[in-house]
Symmetry: C2
Subunit: 204 residues, 2 copies
């Protein structure tokens, strides 16, 4: 099992301080939903977001969307994904009935890692030790429940709290990589460390 | 140089035989554009698409979008990407003025490969010879201008014409992989064959 954590993801509903902003009110009217139920999205709320603290790390649900696409079977259509996320924040799970696909839980990153019983935490950060992604991920192979942490925001760094939880903090490129690039390469290298690609083609 | 071709991509404007369909007319009205200028999209035109030949391979612009995201700096927002594609089909290039980012040309796959001076063509297909993606792509390293062909459609196979152009036809998994998975892994393995990840971290 590889535990993939997209930490501090730029995915949230529109915060209360923006509810009265004209761009948010227009969006709310068009969607026929109250602002509290809309997902914050820089492509729609750019002007309004200037009012926010730490705004450069926020309002990029597309990052979470792309990261989930290489790893799960969520809707590929962006507008449907946003609809699903709005439902997730409103009801706390998706779908509202039947077998749960996604659920929303309030907990710290530390609690999450404890609950998932992660036995080794590899965190990607520009502030880490230089190492190729291949070397970093293949080192996880002997672990039972390794966790990989990738920041789910457009710019900036992981919080100090997140950094301190890492057993290993690595920097895999001299420039910033997209979250989905790091996540999909980490999954692929982990599959290679387990020789999965070879096993899968011999099934033919 | 690695030449990446997304062949037979499920990206086109709404074909004339669907212009009168109610779903297309609604979409046209909402977008304030004639049906001829809209991009065919299964998530919007599912009902209408039943009228089309070969419909299971068509109407998935999101596939092209995701493949371009790992390899270029196109807009990440899906709706903006669609707007750009509509402009591309209408005007033939994007942006309409200044330095061209994308252009539309009418040519066969054979013509394209000749013009790009590809000296080796590696094509991914479920019908190819079983080989890991890593082995297939690392074999391109000695070539000057290798081309990699990935099908840009949701299901089905590459046309016989496309298959016949391949110098090497390989199958890298026992099940169908997403186009963006194959494209992003091919780029990554080519980078590794050139030792790029190692060179890049030593820049730190």
């Amino acid at each position: 099992v590889l535990i993939l954590v997209l930490a501090e993801a730029a995915l949230e509903t529109v915060p209360e301080e923006l509810w009265s902003h004209p761009a948010v009110r227009r969006h709310s009217k068009r969607q026929r939903k109250p602002p509290s139920q809309l997902i914050l999205d820089r492509s729609l709320h750019h002007q309004a977001m200037r009012r926010l603290d730490d705004d450069s790390k926020r309002g990029r649900p597309d990052i979470t969307h792309f990261v989930l696409l290489p790893s799960t079977r969520l809707p590929r259509n962006y507008n449907r994904f946003i609809g699903l996320m709005e439902q997730l924040f409103q009801i706390g799970k998706v779908p509202s009935q039947g077998e749960t696909l996604l659920k929303l839980e309030h907990k710290t990153l530390r609690q999450l890692l404890t609950e998932t019983k992660a036995d080794h935490i590899l965190t990607f950060s520009r502030e880490g030790k230089p190492k190729t992604l291949k070397d970093a991920v293949s080192g996880l192979q002997p672990k039972q429940r390794p966790a990989v942490i990738v920041g789910g925001f457009p710019r900036g760094h992981l919080s100090e709290t997140a950094v301190q939880l890492a057993d290993e903090l690595v920097c895999v490129d001299s420039e910033m990589l997209e979250a989905w690039t790091v996540a999909s390469r980490a999954i692929y290298e982990y599959e290679q460390a387990l020789s999965l690609p070879k096993k899968r083609i011999s099934k033919n």
